[in-house]
């Protein structure tokens, strides 16, 4: 066969693409609908790109991973609802498939709102609460979960779900840090929020508050498994050690340490994990990483869990990293002149605008479309060594295909200068992933 005959044969083959291609748009629409349910909003448009990227990869893995799981649950209405609620989180989907779920079934009604704590999926480090809200009086409802007098150090992650239909399951995650474990029971306060239709604004009103006491089944609150790794490796000229991996039913934590001789703080990683069967575990949605005591480094990374997969071998693949140069952690903004010192290459301060409550700072950066890592700031300080404060809002715009615009809103009295804490100074994508053997 000559080359042109090869060409014709290849073209014929490409004219008959696989059937799965026919449903590309349907899958995209389903993902968009799911994304809307989980998106956090701030004053402007907020997209935590690292979380999205993880969720995209997770979604792709789960479409392949959870089909038989979804089919198995489809004949049981109650489990199908739960299966659907966790289908985008492979660790939770595996937990449900292995009957690692506690049915709570506590329900209360107040002010025309019925709140029900339906299920929890828990281990010693994370608690996933699946609850529902129903009301004939209010639409566009959402819930806020707080813990009452709870011991330990934890954070609560809850996405806004204004467009989840009444009665469908919503998820909130309680994540415990390295010093604390999940207790045997918890008192939670669930507040139902409803959109103010008259104002058509993003402000939600509290319409009802519920107190629940939850007791957990100790046989379904696993301690997890710790794998001592101790692998030291070089990354972008910096030295890291993967100290250990803690494998829980709901997630896995990869705990790193940095060499004191490093010239930059580790800010974030792109990564995934694989076992010997080719199963890929993506970065966990929700909590993706946590920081070290110095306040700059992010040294613990969360990934979906192989707890139920009986994997003997696990390998970490690092595909990208972001670093914050030591000694260059902050950018000083002169508000009067509209200038900034210490910005990364390719980033410029475009505008400084006074607002009713403080300032709006607009930055522009060059960017390749689709790149999920852009510059940004994590906090603002009102003096060089002061404490970190949050922004009142962050806006993000990809209107031009090759440039990013980010807006930072700061509430403060009129002042001459501010210091912004950089997310990172540099970003690297690795053509060949860095492999670290976990076990």
């Amino acid at each position: 066969m000559n080359r042109n005959e090869e060409y014709n044969e290849l073209m014929q083959k490409l004219d008959s693409p696989p059937l799965k291609l026919d449903f590309t748009l349907e899958r995209a629409r389903a993902r968009k609908s799911a994304l809307k349910k989980r998106r956090k909003t701030s004053k402007a448009v907020f997209i935590p790109l690292g979380t999205l990227a993880a969720m995209f990869a997770l979604f792709v893995a789960l479409v392949n991973f959870s089909e038989p799981f979804a089919e198995a649950c489809s004949e049981i209405p109650a489990l199908s609802r739960l299966a659907e609620a966790v289908s985008f989180y492979s660790s939770l989907a595996a937990a449900v498939q292995n009957d690692y779920v506690q049915e709570i079934g506590q329900e209360q009604t107040k002010n025309g709102v019925t709140a029900k704590i339906e299920y929890v999926i828990a281990d010693q480090k994370q608690l996933h609460i699946l609850y529902s809200l129903k009301s004939d009086e209010y639409s566009d409802m959402d819930g806020r979960v707080e813990l009452s007098n709870a011991p330990g150090y934890f954070s609560i992650l809850s996405s806004y779900h204004n467009d989840i239909p009444d009665g469908e399951l919503r998820r909130v995650v309680v994540d415990y840090d390295e010093s604390s474990d999940m207790p045997d029971n918890l008192d939670i306060v669930l507040t139902a929020l409803a959109m103010n239709d008259e104002e058509l604004s993003s402000i939600s009103n509290e319409v009802a508050s519920f107190d629940f006491h939850l007791e957990f089944d100790p046989t379904l609150t696993a301690e997890g498994e710790t794998v001592e790794v101790g692998q030291t490796f070089e990354l972008d000229g910096q030295t890291l050690t993967l100290e250990k991996a803690e494998i829980y039913p709901t997630h896995t934590r990869l705990i790193f340490s940095e060499s004191t001789k490093n010239t930059a703080w580790l800010k974030s990683l792109d990564y995934y994990m694989e076992d010997e069967n080719g199963n890929r575990y993506s970065p966990a949605s929700g909590v993706s990483s946590t920081g070290s005591e110095n306040g700059y480094s992010m040294t613990t990374y969360y990934v979906e869990s192989p707890y139920f997969a009986d994997s003997e071998k696990l390998t970490l693949f690092i595909t990208g990293a972001r670093w914050l140069n030591k000694g260059e952690e902050t950018v000083r903004v002169d508000l009067a002149s509209g200038t900034a010192e210490g910005l990364p290459d390719g980033v410029e301060l475009s505008q400084v605008n006074r607002t009713d409550t403080g300032y709006e700072l607009i930055f522009v950066a060059e960017r390749e479309f689709g790149n999920s890592h852009v510059f940004g700031f994590s906090a603002v300080r009102f003096d060089a060594e002061g404490k970190n404060n949050s922004f009142n809002g962050i806006g993000y715009d990809t209107g031009e295909s090759d440039r990013d615009t980010q807006c930072f809103y700061i509430d403060c009295e009129p002042c001459d200068e501010l210091w912004l804490v950089l997310n990172h100074s540099s970003s690297t994508n690795f053509d060949t992933p860095i492999k670290v053997t976990i076990r």
Partner: protein, 155 residues
């Protein structure tokens, strides 16, 4: 562009996108993933498309970026300047699909878009943000490496 219009355009473009991704990545599974990713990203970014008449250019650029991201994760490409002197002989010995996969991206991109996805040289140049002359030169070089004797896709 409305979502319905987007759906119609994707219906028309779907196979072309798949062909492009398949030849870029060499695998049906990777190609389907890349098309899935690109269509999804285009759907959520639809409001950013200012000129709907350039939809296919825009969509193809998104797809190519997805393919590049996947390649970065998987392997390193050989820059054009590093092609050995015996490059012609080596590419000639490979099956066509494999030979296309191994081309440096500067040559692979116009080859896939023009010879396999069916874009004209003008359209290919727009997608790649290159001059038409540059695209034509690279196509000739790639065709020589691949030992392909094809007529140009009509303007």
């Amino acid at each position: 562009m409305t979502e319905n219009e987007f759906a119609e355009q994707i219906e028309l473009l779907r196979t072309t996108l798949y062909r492009t991704a398949y030849l870029y990545l060499g695998s049906e599974a990777y190609a389907l993933d890349a098309v899935d990713e690109a269509v999804y990203k285009a759907l959520v970014s639809l409001k950013k498309l200012r000129n709907p008449e350039y939809f296919s250019t825009w969509m193809t650029r998104i797809l190519i970026n997805e393919c590049k991201n996947e390649l970065k994760r998987r392997r390193r490409e050989i820059p054009v300047d590093e092609l050995p002197e015996t490059a012609v002989e080596r590419f000639d010995c490979l099956p066509l699909k494999e030979a296309v996969l191994r081309l440096p991206s500067e040559l692979k991109q116009p080859v896939i878009l023009h010879y396999f996805a069916g874009y004209t040289i003008v359209e290919t140049a727009n997608i790649l943000s290159e001059k038409q002359g540059t695209v034509a030169t690279r196509l000739r070089r790639a065709a020589r490496l691949l030992r392909l004797e094809l007529t140009e896709v009509s303007q």
